[in-house]
């Protein structure tokens, strides 16, 4: 059963790494804008015209 210590250790290491990543993300402004990223990702296809199709959607 001692192996659970190893697993908890590794799990905490992974979780700690993600915690660091989370703090980096917040600090570096990744989440300052919680709206435009979801719109922007729609725009990279040339043949698509998102705006034309979604007339009713109001964009900021």
């Amino acid at each position: 059963m001692s192996v659970i210590a190893v697993l908890i250790l590794f799990s905490i290491m992974v979780a700690g790494g993600f915690l660091g990543a989370f703090m980096w993300a917040v600090k570096s402004g990744q989440y300052d804008d919680k709206f435009t990223p979801s719109i922007r990702m729609l725009f990279d296809d040339k043949e698509q015209s998102v705006l034309k199709e979604n007339k009713n959607t109001t964009l900021e």
Binding site: V3, V6, F10, G17, S38, R40, M41, V50
Partner: protein, 706 residues
């Protein structure tokens, strides 16, 4: 304002992975169908070891998880990552290396698993050289992905990318920790962990393989392709952020729910249950976010076959992530574990969530890559409905089978005896369900074949664009704030902190190496009468692993009246201390074998292995006639003994020298016993070792008979 840069997306690598995804989906599902039919026509293995259920089952699971879904992940990531980051992949060479070496791993798996070269740990069956190859390929993938992130033109990392990063990091850790093993030969190794320890590590891995291979990367794909296909932004970007962070922090603790009522300590089981129940929240957050992307536009679902696939996929995700926590409740698990319920559960996930999302992505992607429209919407709709029907038929037959069988296992007569003491009786009852299940499989596979035809014709009518041109301004570098961040310049100016971090890194390496040594101490038996396997039993045990017996037979009697009554004294943690690897199994298609030893005479096993139906009319176990013909390879005995001693099994010093003499002595005794019963078989045959192992099972502790 900076200059607009022109660059090209690499579509070729996406095309490669897309073709591999389609190819392996057919292979993986076809193998699944073959073994599903073998469950009611055992003779379908034609007496050939390589195509017998027990050896093909791991091939099916590995092909679907790592070949079909694996290539699907890479297809989706290589397409979406470039566009989200406004950059070509970091290195075309690494992309190609990643692709071809991943296919090499799959081919290695397809060769070694039917040959019986397996570690027996579920979804980690591949032997150690392939494990190393997987690690290297994963590093290649990681360099390529992080390299692309570094040279990105878009500062913001869209939520899908976070899911990709979590996948890369966590899968690496899981794979390495679970695959620590000591090689015996090039094709054989023993897990560094034993018994309960091994079980815990394995299901920590197994559960998180589901989480970080079948779930997080596909959620990333959902967050990219669902909005793309609907041409609408994700319902709530804020929710997606919460979904991501909550999911990855909770998922990794839920593994012990695979070991409820086992010999694992109770507190660890409860920990697994608590976190599993908590998982409902982020999982359903993700499902809601995906589905509500279609808010106000549900009418698109009538027309768009891509959306149909995706909506069913996300719904299946929601259903299986509700079912998962429910199955983690001990009272539900007591009923469902070891039955077809789990088979139904994973197939809702695999066929519904992974399968349908992949198909949706393929129908969306292939026309775009080839700059055309889908060859036939009608055929795609046909695929959708026949696939959907396939899932329903598959799942409902398995749920039905599970409930019937588990209730029969637990049924007592008013006199307090088992109502169905003969395990076979409960199997025969559900054979019709196995037939129906394979019909579901045929339906689903038919849909996939129709898709293949449709996609090939789509590609034929279009022109493939290998390098798609795109434009974007370079990333605006934020003013350097290294005093707060963790950038390299920060580290460079702080030697003390750098030393600490380097020490941590080295420590991690050290821990990985020291784990086996640490664990040796805890392998000291807590039950004095539990002894290491004799050389012959050890060889027999490795045959049991080679043949994949644990695919259908558990070695874990749970502390229930119905199980103790049926199989014998419930399992104790101390009984498994020499089991490298553990062989608890996760499914009872046949009865538990924990206390099989001395239940039947040797000759019974001889006949039963040759043709199970001779001893148990109607049995669905495949025959293993080659065990009687093959000569046991005893050249490895010495090496096996010394490797196991290194792992903490207390074989006396110098035992290697006499191991094979002991082995022959025991084999002769069994052969003599068989000949007394009228069966003449040479003592050097594999069947002798197999009988020796089976007769040893569970005999170390003598439980008082009632």
């Amino acid at each position: 304002m900076s200059q607009i840069e022109t660059f090209k997306y690499d579509n070729k690598i996406v095309k490669y992975f897309a073709i591999a995804t389609v190819l392996w989906s057919v292979v993986g599902m076809l193998v699944g169908l073959i073994i599903a039919i073998q469950l009611y026509v055992p003779a379908l293995n034609l007496g050939i070891p390589y195509v017998t259920f027990s050896r093909l089952r791991p091939l099916h699971t590995n092909a679907v998880i790592f070949a079909f879904v694996g290539n699907g992940i890479f297809m989706g990531i290589y397409y979406s990552l470039q566009r989200l980051l406004k950059a070509r992949m970091f290195s075309d060479f690494l992309s190609k290396l990643h692709f071809w070496s991943w296919q090499l791993i799959i081919v290695c798996a397809a060769i070694t698993l039917p040959l019986g070269l397996t570690t027996s740990k579920e979804y980690a069956e591949l032997e150690w050289p392939i494990d190393i190859l997987i690690t290297l390929v994963w590093v290649v993938f990681a360099i390529n992905l992080f390299g692309t992130i570094v040279k990105r033109r878009e500062k913001h990392l869209y939520v899908a990318i976070w899911f990709y990063i979590a996948t890369i990091v966590t899968v690496a850790v899981l794979h390495i920790v679970n695959s620590i093993e000591l090689p015996v030969t090039f094709f054989k190794s023993y897990s560094a962990y034993a018994g309960v320890q091994d079980a815990l590590v394995q299901w920590w891995y197994g559960h998180n393989a589901v989480a970080f291979f079948l779930t997080t990367p596909y959620l990333g794909l959902m967050y990219y392709f669902m909005p793309k296909a609907a041409n609408r932004p994700i319902y709530s970007y804020r929710l997606s952020i919460i979904h991501f962070w909550a999911l990855i922090f909770i998922y990794i603790w839920a593994g012990p729910h695979h070991l409820l009522y086992s010999a694992l300590p109770d507190w660890a089981q409860s920990l697994g249950t608590v976190f599993s129940v908590m998982l409902i929240a982020p999982s359903w957050g993700g499902m809601i976010n995906g589905l509500l992307t279609l808010r106000g536009a549900w009418d698109k679902l009538r027309e768009d076959v891509v959306l149909k696939f995706m909506v069913v996929a996300i719904t299946a995700y929601g259903m299986s992530t509700f079912e998962g926590p429910m199955l983690s409740l001990k009272n539900v698990n007591a009923l469902a574990h070891f039955t077809d319920w789990i088979i139904a559960h994973v197939h809702i996930g695999a066929l519904g969530w992974n399968g349908f999302l992949t198909f949706g992505v393929l129908y969306w992607l292939i026309p775009r890559l080839w700059n055309t429209t889908l060859y036939s919407k009608k055929l795609a709709n046909f695929h959708f409905w026949i696939g959907f029907l396939g899932i329903v038929v598959y799942a409902s037959s398995m749920y039905w089978s599970a409930l019937v069988q588990t209730l029969m296992w637990k049924q007592f007569t008013p006199a307090g005896l088992l109502q169905y003491p003969n395990f076979l009786e409960t199997v025969l009852q559900i054979v019709p369900m196995y037939i129906i299940r394979s019909v579901g499989g045929v339906l689903y596979l038919t849909g996939v074949l129709v898709m293949v035809y449709n996609l090939i014709n789509t590609a034929k009518q279009g022109n493939f664009v290998a390098d798609e041109e795109a434009q974007a301004p370079p990333m605006v570098k934020a003013p350097i704030k290294y005093s707060k961040g963790l950038g390299h310049r920060w580290i460079e100016s702080r030697p003390l902190q750098f030393t600490i971090l380097a020490a941590v890194a080295i420590l991690i390496g050290g821990i990985v190496e020291m784990i086996p040594t640490f664990l040796v101490k805890t392998n000291i038996p807590t039950i004095a009468s539990v002894k290491p396997y004799t050389p012959l039993e050890l060889q027999g045990r490795d045959l049991y692993i080679r043949e994949g017996c644990l695919g259908c037979h558990s070695q874990m009697i749970r502390p229930f009246r119905s199980e103790v009554e049926r199989y014998g004294e419930y399992s104790k943690a101390g009984e498994y201390v020499y089991d490298h690897p553990f062989l608890w199994g996760s499914k009872r298609t046949g009865p538990d074998l924990m206390r099989e030893g001395k239940k039947y005479p040797n000759v019974w096993h001889y006949y039963h292995m040759n043709d199970p139906r001779l001893m148990s009319p109607g049995s669905i176990m495949p025959p293993f006639p080659w065990l009687e013909k093959n000569v046991l390879d005893i050249s490895t005995t010495e090496k096996k003994i010394s490797v196991l001693r290194n792992l903490g099994v207390p074989y006396p010093a110098g035992f290697e020298a006499i191991a094979n003499i002991e082995l022959k002595k025991q084999a002769d005794t069994i052969a003599l016993d068989l000949s007394n019963a009228g069966v003449v078989v040479d003592s050097d045959k594999e069947i002798i070792a197999m009988i020796a192992y089976l007769q040893r099972l569970g005999t170390d502790i003598k439980a008082k008979k009632k």
